[in-house]
């Protein structure tokens, strides 16, 4: 259903661009006073191809999936049957619950690692600051697949850490870091850390040094200055970034598939099974609707926190 739409959008798009050009040419000829009102139209025409693309390729399929979740595949009549099936089956709920719980763990891990890391970076001399942030950012440049397999090299039973531990005689048999929730946790935390560290670093740099100095002159200890002045001032950004990390964790597919070794199915992997193995499109639609509602609600909180922060 999406494919014909995207094919069609090609010629349509080029036509609208041409039309926009005409309008733009006209706009330069009219007096400045009228040009302001034309701008809106220009903008609209320029954005139209993009708009069509988004509506046809993203929005309609999503609405379509939402429709599937509440309709009978044969008759097309509206029904809540799929939702009832979904709620009756403990397997789905268990997997969704596990995904939520793991996402919470990932969020907690990124906070525990990311907040001190960002704080430490702000204390460094400017040159070292760039180096540290550069190292955090480079993880964006490496393909997620490569990074995930890199963890196998490090954490696998014949990996770096296990060999080191056995060589040092700490353990006699390799520890199983991988193919369980721990492996997934490590991999996802690694991928998501920059989403927390970068905004937090920026927020910490924005904190007015004079507030900390004045708190000191008012007699506050370093501990108190941190917890009562510095931390509250970075809290909105911390909360917003944490929500973002949580939302992103909900949809992880590659990392759980590789580092979980297929033994720890999460929502995205379950969808894969439902569609590609069992062809249960309606159930998959229900799961995706549930996930989307949760994500959008969290996203609303994220936006609210960001605006409050700005």
């Amino acid at each position: 259903m999406t494919l014909p739409g995207s094919y069609e959008s090609g010629p349509v798009a080029s036509q609208t661009v041409a039309a926009a050009h005409d309008v733009a040419a006209e706009a330069t000829a009219v007096p400045a006073r009228r040009r302001a009102s034309l701008r809106q139209w220009e903008l609209f025409f320029l954005l139209l191809p993009m708009l069509l693309l988004i509506v046809l390729i993203f929005d309609l399929p999503i609405l379509n999936a939402a429709y599937w979740s509440i309709s009978d595949p044969k008759t097309g009549a509206l029904t809540l049957g799929h939702f009832r099936d979904f709620l009756d089956s403990t397997a789905y709920l268990r997997i969704i619950w596990r995904t939520f719980f793991l996402s919470l763990e990932v969020t907690a891990a990124t906070i525990l690692l990311g907040y001190p890391l960002a704080y430490w970076a702000t204390k460094l001399p400017p040159r070292w600051r760039i180096v540290v942030l550069g190292l955090v950012v480079t993880t964006f440049w490496v393909s997620i697949l490569v990074r995930t397999y890199a963890w196998i090299v490090i954490l696998g039973s014949a990996g770096l850490i296990n060999r080191l531990l056995m060589w040092a005689g700490v353990v006699s048999r390799p520890i199983e870091f991988l193919y369980n929730e721990f492996g997934i946790l490590v991999g996802m935390t690694n991928v998501l850390l920059p989403f927390l560290v970068l905004p937090l670093f920026a927020a910490m740099m924005r904190v007015d040094m004079r507030l900390l100095q004045v708190a000191e002159t008012l007699g506050a200890s370093r501990f108190r200055i941190f917890w009562q002045v510095f931390f509250p001032l970075t809290l909105p950004t911390l909360a917003a970034s944490a929500i973002l990390v949580f939302i992103l964790s909900l949809g992880f597919y590659i990392t759980p598939a590789v580092l979980g070794g297929g033994r720890v199915p999460l929502v995205a992997n379950m969808m894969d099974l439902l569609i590609n193995r069992f062809a249960r499109w309606e159930t998959a639609a229900v799961v995706s609707v549930v996930l989307m509602v949760v994500t959008l609600s969290l996203y609303a909180v994220y936006q609210w926190l960001r605006e409050k922060n700005a």
């Binding site: 507030l211 100095q213 004045v214 000191e216 009562q228």
Partner: protein
């Protein structure tokens, strides 16, 4: 009784000396202003007292205790930043309560003290607001309340009025002065506005490029400045250069400016200071004749730019704006000879240029005024 004393204090940022071998002292209960152009080290000086920065060398005393390396949190000094630095996430009440909570004060006493401080700055009704909901003047007063609520030994104010508009500035200025008198708290205020310094303080410390240019009471520093820089910075000044001769300064062009007789050697090169408001411009019978080149109406006074025969120009501020002279008119200038102040340091050298003689003179002067 001395309250704050700097002894040869230097604060260097790399090669730059933000504070350069400064020795001053401030008496208990007095209102001192630190005056100086931008970048002269005023903020640095306050930070050194507050303990936010450490001196590179020298010694700072507070009362009879040396505090050079005492942490800021243990100094018991109230500081108001130019930007006020209110905690944006706390209410007005919590902002003012902060220093008391830090000291572990009980709720009842704390509430009473905060209420009292807010009443002093006339902000009782706004205690539940957040700082961003207040006007600049109100924020300024909250910062003041927070700085005095814990009864600090000294109050430091860094250009507290700079962000306010002219009218509000005058209002808050009076409030600060009144508050200071009421509490009797030793106060050091930074400003780069000479009018503010002259009108508020018991003592003015004039800084220039990290060095103390002069210390003194406002009228002393205004009428009897020790250098050209001081004379110039504190208000408009006419400088009369020439050689001293029997109660006159005789310019190279031969114009004779009467001044009070001194024991300066005849023929010595001197520089006299004559403030514009000390000059009278009449029809005739004055010391010197000149022609009005420019007239500026200032409201209470009129400012004339008057050119003498030699081409030298003098500025005169004459009270009573009615019946003024017009541009091009001839006027006769007179003044009380006692009003001509002969600068003890007759050089227009910019201070702090590393001249040994300057250093010596300055430390000597400072110790005279300070102790």
């Amino acid at each position: 009784m001395t309250n704050v004393r700097f002894t040869h204090v230097t604060k260097a940022y790399g090669p730059l000396r933000a504070i350069d071998d400064v020795s001053i002292s401030v008496k208990s209960g007095e209102f001192t202003t630190v005056l100086g152009p931008s970048g002269s080290g005023k903020t640095t000086m306050l930070s050194l007292i507050a303990g936010i920065t450490r001196p590179t060398s020298g010694r700072i005393d507070l009362g009879d205790r040396e505090i050079t390396f005492v942490p800021a949190a243990e100094r018991n000094i109230g500081l108001v930043f130019q930007s006020y630095a209110l905690f944006p996430h706390m209410s007005i009440f919590d902002n003012v309560a902060f220093p008391l909570r830090v000291r572990g004060m009980g709720a009842a006493e704390l509430s009473r003290r905060v209420g009292e401080a807010l009443r002093l700055v006339r902000l009782e009704g706004l205690r539940q607001r957040k700082p961003h909901q207040l006007s600049g003047g109100q924020q300024q007063r909250v910062a003041l309340a927070r700085a005095i609520v814990f009864e600090p030994a000294i109050l430091l104010l860094d250009e507290p009025l700079a962000a306010l508009d002219r009218k509000l500035r005058e209002e808050v200025r009076l409030e600060i002065r009144e508050l200071q008198r009421k509490l009797g708290i030793t106060t050091i205020m930074v400003t780069h506005d000479q009018e503010e310094a002259l009108s508020l303080s018991d003592q003015v410390v004039l800084l220039s490029k990290g060095r103390v240019e002069q210390v003194g009471a406002p009228d002393e520093i205004y009428h009897r400045p020790s250098t050209r820089f001081a004379a110039d910075f504190l208000g408009m000044a006419n400088f009369i250069e020439g050689s001293y001769h029997e109660g006159h300064i005789v310019s190279p062009d031969g114009e004779r400016f009467p001044c009070a007789p001194t024991n300066i050697a005849h023929g010595a090169r001197v520089c006299g200071l004559l403030r514009p408001e000390d000059i009278r411009a009449g029809g005739e019978g004055g010391h010197l004749a000149g022609i009005v080149r420019d007239v500026v109406f200032l409201g209470e006074t009129v400012r004339y730019l008057i050119e003498l025969k030699s081409g030298r120009r003098l500025t005169a501020n004459v009270a009573g704006a009615r019946g003024r002279h017009v541009a091009g008119a001839g006027v006769s200038l007179s003044w009380d000879p006692k009003r001509v102040w002969i600068l003890p340091d007759n050089s227009d050298r910019i201070p702090a240029d590393g001249n040994a003689a300057v250093t010596e003179r300055r430390t000597e002067k400072v110790s005279v005024v300070g102790r």
